[in-house]
Amino acid sequence: MTRQEAVLEVEDLRTYFFTRGGVAKAVDGVSFTLHRGEILGLVGESGSGKSVTGMSVLGLVDPPGRIVGGAVRYHGEDLVTAAEKRLRQLRGSRIAMIFQDPMMTLNPVLSVETQMVETVLAHDRVSRSEARERSREALARVGIPSPDERLAAYPHQFSGGMRQRVAIAIALLHRPDVIIADEPTTALDVTIQAQILFEMQKLCRETGTALVWITHDLAVVSGLADRIAVMYAGRIVEIGSAVEVIDGARHPYTHGLLGSVPSRNRRGEPLAQIPGMTPSLLNLPEGCAFRPRCPRATDACFALPPLSDEAHGWRCFNPQGAVA
């Protein structure tokens, strides 16, 4: 496989929330590189900083949150220091975001057609009829039957799954280079989820769009992603190709997560479980944040472990041997 050009490089990104209770380091030194047509799965538990990472890339972090360090390079151009005007130009055309709740994208009082046509016209100088044709195509691409009639409909006339597909169609209108999808299928059924995953896969293969798929569900990304990054308490604790991370997990947390998946346990036997609970960001353990729950912890773990490697790397002093 030839090395593709990097579309998006996130380097040592730090986004902190300055709250009443203290500073929450929601994203604390996250780095990853996204190549053309690549799908990166960003996995982690609730509160581990996945959404904030996605929002930071687009410069959408609201106070009390702030990007306090690091760089986000889109084709080499740093977005952290870019002007708001430039960001707005990129957002929605070159870099698109899909949210868990499609109503974040859709306006309930406008017809789907109005919203899609406006989106096209906002970034491209084309005629109205051409914009309409593009909208129709985009709807057809996400598998919405009879797109011509559906264009005239309002969001509330669609089911949840169809609304999400419309939101995705809007994200696809400008054939963006990068799509950041934040748990867009969590609320959907497996069959509809499969449909959406199918469309996304096809899109990446055909147009070279790079995709960051944020989810808490390892099973979804293991079938979809080329690379997987596992987040814990604001940091990437393991990153690598899907095969490396799922079949050769080295970080005890990744290992524990995979071990607790029911299908990896004998039917009816107790599931392997990770003891304890996710720490509060305001009160993180010193050194490796996973230490209090980690079965392999040693005294060395009171220091912060570095990420071992770019290709398949982990933040751990006592990594697990590769599992079969």
Binding site: E45, I192, A194, A219, L257, Q273
Partner: protein
């Protein structure tokens, strides 16, 4: 058989382990309808698009659950899982059909026994925060019902609550806290403790691990299995996560648009599903052990429960549909010992 009036006395019921099912659902149906009010009728006269709304959320479901069994209930969003669970737990009454608890129809029980039977069937909810009253301390959340029903006296309440908390892996020292002071997993344990406090023998778990973090889910699933072993509980385990159901259910029921389409022992169902919908479900469920696969698009339209298709409700999406499927509704019938399926294809062999 005289009904005892003392609330502490057990309801005279057939002994567990006998051939009688613990709980039988007989032709349970739930319809949700709204009648138009005056203003809406007027608007309709004037040509506005107001519709009387009539959903058969659960349509003629029959099922017998043996003592100690874990029955999994699977199906897509809106197919009526929660509605069925709420009917079983006695939160909403069925529109028609009945619940038979240890051989006796619940609706026909005298008041006191009916209450006892209701207490024997408890529910564990999906949202660990919304299912706990934010204004009550844990001691009261767990201890209120047993005290009100005379299972413990006011003096015994604290000790009783402590023992139940220990049973679900909570430190009794937290009894004086409020729900918001706990993590999601701990809140779910409180919800389980509340159900256990009235000494049930049947638990309805409606997506009880869905809202929890992945690493916490395993802890709660293990707790359910431990309680089953230690207390001999019977479960109706509702979940959209096929992996979880496969792991803990003895038997699995698959629903589509309010109706049961397949019932089978889990081991068989997950290796050899019969109904085309079950197959589609199993095929599309993401699994950790599949690497870089191609996903399949949906054929046909997802039907609305307000306007279910005639014949077999799955026919618009079914790759194997026969002409007959469009007009004639297949009945749920035995295709092998212990296996039921509602599909015309089974008549073909």
């Amino acid at each position: 058989m005289t009904a005892t009036t003392s609330s502490r006395a057990a309801v005279p019921l057939p002994a567990p382990g006998s051939a009688t099912p613990m709980l039988e659902l007989s032709h349970l149906t739930k319809r949700f309808t709204t009648k138009l009010d005056f203003a809406e009728r007027l608007a309709k006269r004037l040509g506005a698009k107001v519709q009387e709304f009539d959903v058969r959320a659960v349509d003629d479901v029959s099922l017998a659950i043996a003592p100690g069994e874990v029955v999994g209930l699977v199906g897509e969003s809106g197919c009526g899982k929660t509605t069925l669970g709420r009917m079983v737990a006695g939160i909403i009454p069925p529109s028609s059909g009945e619940l038979i608890y240890r051989g006796r129809p619940m609706a026909a029980l005298p008041h006191d026994e009916a209450r006892q039977a209701t207490l024997k069937i408890q529910m564990v909810f999906q949202d660990p925060m919304a299912s706990l009253n934010p204004r009550l301390r844990v001691s009261e959340i767990i201890g209120e019902a047993p005290r009100v029903h005379g299972i413990v006296s006011r003096n015994e309440q604290a000790d009783y609550v402590a023992s139940i908390m220990r049973k679900v892996g909570l430190d009794p020292a937290y009894a004086a806290r409020f729900p918001h002071q706990f993590s999601g997993g701990q809140r779910q344990r409180i919800g389980i403790a509340r159900a256990l406090a009235v000494q049930p023998d049947f638990l309805v778990c409606d997506e009880s691990v869905a809202a929890l973090d992945v690493s916490i889910q395993a802890q709660i699933i293990n707790l359910f299995m431990e309680l089953r072993r230690d207390l001999g509980l019977t479960y109706l385990f509702i979940s959209h996560d096929l992996g979880v159901v496969e792991h803990i259910a003895d038997r699995t029921v698959i629903m589509y648009l309010g109706r049961v389409v397949e019932v089978a022992p889990s081991a068989e169902l997950f290796t050899k599903p019969n109904h085309p919908y079950s197959r589609a479900l199993l095929d599309e469920a993401p699994r950790v052990d599949t690497r870089k696969r191609t996903f399949a698009p949906i054929r046909g339209e997802i039907p609305s429960p307000l306007d279910p298709p005639a014949g077999c409700a799955f026919h618009p999406r079914c790759p194997l549909a026969l002409p007959r499927c469009r007009s004639e509704r297949p009945s749920l019938r035995e295709i092998a010992p212990g296996r039921l399926s509602a599909c015309h294809l089974n008549d073909m062999q």
